[in-house]
Amino acid sequence: MNIAVSRDPATGWPRRALTIQWSVALLTLLLVVAPLGPILWQSFLDRPLYEAGAVPGFANYVRLFGDPDFHAVLRNSFVFAVLATVIAVLAGVAFTLFLERTRLPGRNLLRNLLMWPLYISQLVTAFSWYTLYGPAGYFTLLGERIFGVPLWDMYSVPGMAILGGVTQAPVVYLFCASNARMADATLEDAARSVGAGPFRILWSVALPMLRPPIIYSAILVFIGSLETLAIPLIFGRPVGIEFFTTFLYSKGLGAITPDYGMIGAAASLLLVIVTLLLVVQGLLLRRAGRFVSVKGKSQRPKRIDLGMGGYVVSGLLALYLLVGVLLPMAAVLLRAFTTFLTPLLSPFELLTLENFQSIFDYPVHVRAIVNSVVIAGVGGLVATVLIAVIALVIRRSSFPFARALEYVALYPRAMPGIVAGIGFFWAMLLLPFIGALSGTIWILMIAFTMRGIPTAYGAIAPALMQIGPELDQSARSLGADWWTAVTRIILPLTKPALFAAYTLLFLSFLKEYSAAVFLYAPGAEIIGTTMLSFWAEGEGGAVAALSVIQLIITLAFVLIAHRFTRTHRDV
């Protein structure tokens, strides 16, 4: 086919539509390749990538696989990821079945509580568990006093896996719940009519129907477990249990002369593993799509009545949330306002504001908070606009490479935060125009934006697809070019989705830390990196205070966002 439409006969310039589409496509590609390229390239070089005379080869990989420490890293990472996935799936599925398919007492409250870990930085959650269940944690000491021996050991792979599972159970719930809500209730009625009891129905009918979302979300959790930095940093590194992420962290930041080759090879390996997992997930999802039947007819989901059993189940789920979410958060709050926390003394004798003073008395730390808010508020806005345009090009234009662009835009899912951080760090060393951003909050915004593309795209693209093509076609036939049609007609109609995308980006930019550990510099600190510095100095009180500040910002934002969507429901 002859594509002779690219130039405007009046001006001779390429048309506005194609200019915008190509610019956005190239910018997206640059965002993704900038960190990816240097890492892959470095993994084959025998010296740091900024030094001249490097010879490409496989020496780094040979060294990496020959390193017994790295064998332990692989083993730890995978055992942790498997255990955490199992725990997250068990919890997530249990919540799905009981919250979505039964008439459980108090299910709305339970659902809200369950979602908390999604809003909270994993660093804060890990720290909160440390305060309660760590080796010198409140409950650990309490148990030791009563029973004479420590009852658990959080400095172990299974201990960390429980935390990893609890923080990621909401992910499993999210995917399974939307599926369970659409499930055909007549299947359950049929089971009841042949005499199955409520628990039997859940086990034999409702659960098997959830297989596709379970597999899908299990892979997500597995990837999330490989990517987590906070948990192994807080619970593994003190006793020498290294994971993929802490291995990169130690090699890059812990050593006086970082081993570039080794870091490159390990980061590349992690990228390859996660990419493969995503490919598998994509294939499974495509196959699953064939036998998932979503009915057009709307039906009120019928819920199973558990009778008195409901109160027992409710109690058990509440206990899980109390131990896993609520008490740790309370502990952080208490820790922020006390000199230290111990079962030996009443916390009310130890009340203090010192922890907050140690933050607010220092402009550096105040600046970190301001930076975080600016990055989340402004960076999130810019990212939302950019990603909205990316989605428009992919979903609502005749851009010839729209499909390829979608692959590029979704690729950051495969890039763990710490890997992205290393990648951008190296890109700054390599490319002068990116290097100019070194030590500013801009590079953080750019890195966070790149990481945020898939999330925001996932919120915007489905909304775009729900708008009939005739709405922009009619604008086109009335004289609007592509850009006018999509910005004046399509974007205003996707306002709720754009707002949802902004909310997601704001929250994830605010709690991001792993992509920043290699990128932040004096003047460009954020809450997460400051927390890590306090942590390294053993300043538990300051970490707790910062956690509380981050939680308050999150809470305020969520409340405002909620208000805003309520009053603007009709847009």
Binding site: A4, V5, E470, Q473, S474, A475, R476, S477, L478, A480
Partner: protein, 357 residues
């Protein structure tokens, strides 16, 4: 000049030919209807004209402007064509009031504010919607929405008006009214119009000419009168509601030169016209149900048949009958009430038409 010239237009989706060698010339001010069953390529033709769907071959010209030429690689984008398209679903923008919907094409053309207001009022008056400018689309009835969609298209004075089944979302009564009103408006404005429908009655009532489409091709392009009286193929005849097809054999001519045919039962019939070119001896004769006269007693007429009433339906003013003639079933209508059983039928030669069997 806004004469429309479509030549050898083709649109292929892999092996699927949504459009196959479609040629159509529409004169200035003419009202031409594309008529055909679902999936025959009507919308594809319209969207190709509007520039919203890129054909794979052929040319499109309006007046002296070439809008599309596959061979020369010319494809003027939709927004530069100045063609008005009214969508089946109206495609009103839900976040804009009626006035904002109408103002949009004017703003794009940088029409001054004062003139915008005048032209919007004019357009609203034209479609009888004066005073509803501040409503949002969902605050209007289906018929009103349809008229807003039309007004939004008329307001920028397109050189050509394309309408894709604009009345299909209206109820039967409203559709009747809207159809007369639309036709009148088109005459009044003298706008060249291409209209798409699968309702033959609508096509017959409104068009200057009708193009009947089948599987991506135009099979007959003619005036409503001729399409109705002289459908070129059995498909057209069937689609236009000719009703009955009786298989016959050609046996000769009578003294007036009219064709003589014989049914399977050996009954001789006189028919009007000639067999279609290239037809063999096996033909089909069509007679509309309302042209068949029924009687309990034998009728004295040039064409007579006998059959058995096997079914009767009450149609209000008349009764519909299914009559078995040999192994054929035909439909007939009469104001008289007949009981099931033997019946005589008669019809005039000029009410018949011969088609390829």
């Amino acid at each position: 000049m806004s004469e429309v010239v479509i030549d050898n237009l083709g649109k292929h989706y892999g092996a699927v030919r949504a459009l196959d060698d479609v040629s159509l010339h529409v004169a200035e001010g003419e009202f031409v209807t594309l008529l055909g069953p679902s999936g025959c390529g009507k919308s594809t033709t319209l969207f190709a004209l509007a520039g919203l769907d890129r054909p794979t071959e052929g040319t499109i010209r309006i007046g002296d402007r070439v809008f599309f030429d596959a061979a020369a690689g010319i494809d003027v984008p939709a927004e530069r064509r100045g063609i008005g398209l009214v969508f089946q679903s109206y495609a009103l923008w839900p976040h804009m009031t009626v006035r904002q919907n109408l103002a949009f094409p004017l703003k794009l053309r940088k029409v001054p504010k004062a003139e915008q207001a005048v032209r919007i009022e004019e357009a609203l008056a034209l479609v009888d919607l004066t005073g509803l400018g501040e409503r949002l689309p969902h605050e209007l009835s289906g018929g009103q929405q349809q008229r807003v969609a039309l007004a939004r298209t008329l307001v920028f004075r397109p050189s050509l008006l394309l309408l894709d089944e604009p009345l299909s979302n209206l109820d039967a009564k409203l559709r009747h009214k809207a159809r007369d009103w639309l036709k009148q408006l088109q005459r009044q404005l003298g706008l060249t119009t291409l209209y798409v429908t699968h309702d033959q009655e609508e096509a017959l009532a409104m068009s200057d000419r009708i193009a009947v489409m089948q599987a991506g091709r135009i099979v007959q392009l003619d005036t409503p009168e001729r399409i109705y009286r002289r459908p070129a193929t059995r498909f057209v005849a069937d689609f236009i509601g000719a009703g009955n097809f009786l298989p016959v054999r050609h046996v000769g001519h009578d003294e007036g030169g009219r064709m003589l045919v014989e049914t399977g039962e050996g009954v001789r019939l006189v028919t009007a016209g000639t067999a279609p070119p290239g037809a063999g001896a096996d033909l089909a004769v069509t007679i509309r149900p309302q042209h068949l006269r029924l009687s309990a007693a034998p009728i004295d007429d040039e064409n007579r048949l006998t059959g058995t009433i096997v079914d009767r339906t009450y149609l209000g003013a008349r009764h519909g009958y299914t009559v078995a003639i040999g192994d054929q079933r035909i439909q007939a209508e009469s104001e008289q009430l007949f009981e099931p059983g033997a019946v005589h039928l008669a019809f005039r030669a000029e009410d018949t038409l011969l088609l390829d069997g």
